[in-house]
Amino acid sequence: MPASTAAVALRRIGRATLNSVERLGFAARFSVAVLVHSPSALRRLRLTLREIYFSGVLSLVIILVSGLFVGMVLALQGYDVLTRYGANESLGVLVALSLVRELGPVVAGLLFASRAGSAITAEIGLMKTTEQLSAMEMMAVDPLARVVAPRFFGGILSMPLLAALFSTLGIFGAYLVGVRLIGIDAGSFWGNMQAAVDFRYDIVNGIIKSVVFGIAVSLIAVFEGYNARPTAEGVSTATTRTVVASSLSILALDFVLTVFMFRGLGV
């Protein structure tokens, strides 16, 4: 009967919503716990350095190559459009602003989430499944301090560096295509770029964005791993959730940050 199926559907939606809200609250409490245990991560510097290696250094290849290609494509497409308005000397400006303000933090963030974020989730989830976290607990060592916090901070410290490297490689790629391949004057390429890109408004805002994204991705990755169901299926679900939730958060946060940061310039 339609009435009862509607009732069942409503109840299911209601329960799902309540579950999501409960999960959100749980995540908030977890985040606070991680932050509280941060000083221990800083004391275990060696562990944090190790995590910077695993999230940052091992992501270098994908970040550098992607940055290069994104920059080159930006230059090609940008040149095509700018020529119509006789503004091809502004190619450097177009590429630099796009990368530094948006593409650097966002794309580097997305790549970081899928490469390093999922790896962190899988690792913590696997440690939970093989009872390593329980063992640690029973040995009176808090897993939040020893396993979670170093990974959290490793991610936060790596993100801005990766975003900057992405933007740099992108600009270099655009230079290769624009100046070397197409033949735009190198002087106007760099000169116009330097005149249009402001340190405080563009670069610092870009760095702030990448730090915010780093916090979001690391927090989600660590949370999903820690709360994964201790089965193979549970870990796989958690890894997928990390990538999806991180990507959506990055895009949503990007919108919010962009509105606040770049709002007042058109006055």
């Binding site: 290696y53 560096l161 933007s167 670069i203 058109g266």
Partner: protein, 173 residues
């Protein structure tokens, strides 16, 4: 993965990353070329600022000497009040003219400063008294049509010299 290799790679990563940030700040951005807070403020009033935006350059002889900081409307005089920050290295006389200009035909709008001959210089917080507003296209056309109408009306009552002049102007247009 022994410790020293790991440390080496992390060190390389952090160095290269910070290098990238420096590159972006110095080569791509304008970190050192624009002196940050070493400046003094000047004010100027305009009838119309046209398309002048925040952070638009203030140029003298085509060289960027400062930036526009704030734009307000004076509620009593209905004039646009522009506050600009000028680099400390430059000084302008009290009778400097501030004009709103466009670089090229469709380029960005900026403030041009023409220094005058007054021995006294503008100090922090001073107001530039001589200003020239932006040229707004509609008003220009309107002005021209008004002049046309005025000279056409004057021909009938005026001397014969005015007529050929008006006719020439009309022909040229």
């Amino acid at each position: 993965m022994n410790r020293s290799t790991l440390d080496l790679w992390v060190g390389i990563f952090v160095t290269v990353g910070i290098g990238a940030i420096l590159f972006l700040s110095l080569k791509v951005g304008n970190l050192l070329t624009v002196s940050n807070d070493q400046g003094y403020r000047l004010e100027a009033e305009f009838d119309n600022i046209g398309g002048l935006k925040l952070r638009a350059p203030v140029k003298a002889a085509g060289v960027v000497v400062g930036r526009v900081e704030r734009v307000k409307l004076d509620p009593r005089t209905y004039q646009a009040v522009v506050m600009m920050k000028i680099d400390r290295g430059y000084e302008f006389s009290k009778d400097t003219i501030a004009s709103i200009l466009t670089s090229g035909l469709l380029g960005e709008v900026y403030i041009g400063l023409d220094s005058g001959g007054d021995a006294k210089m503008l100090a922090d917080g001073d107001k530039i008294t001589k200003t020239q507003s932006a040229i707004v296209l509609e008003k220009l056309i309107g002005q021209f049509m008004f002049d046309r109408a005025a000279s056409a009306g004057g021909t009938a009552a005026g001397s014969g010299n005015a007529a050929p002049a008006a006719a020439t102007t009309g022909g040229a247009k």
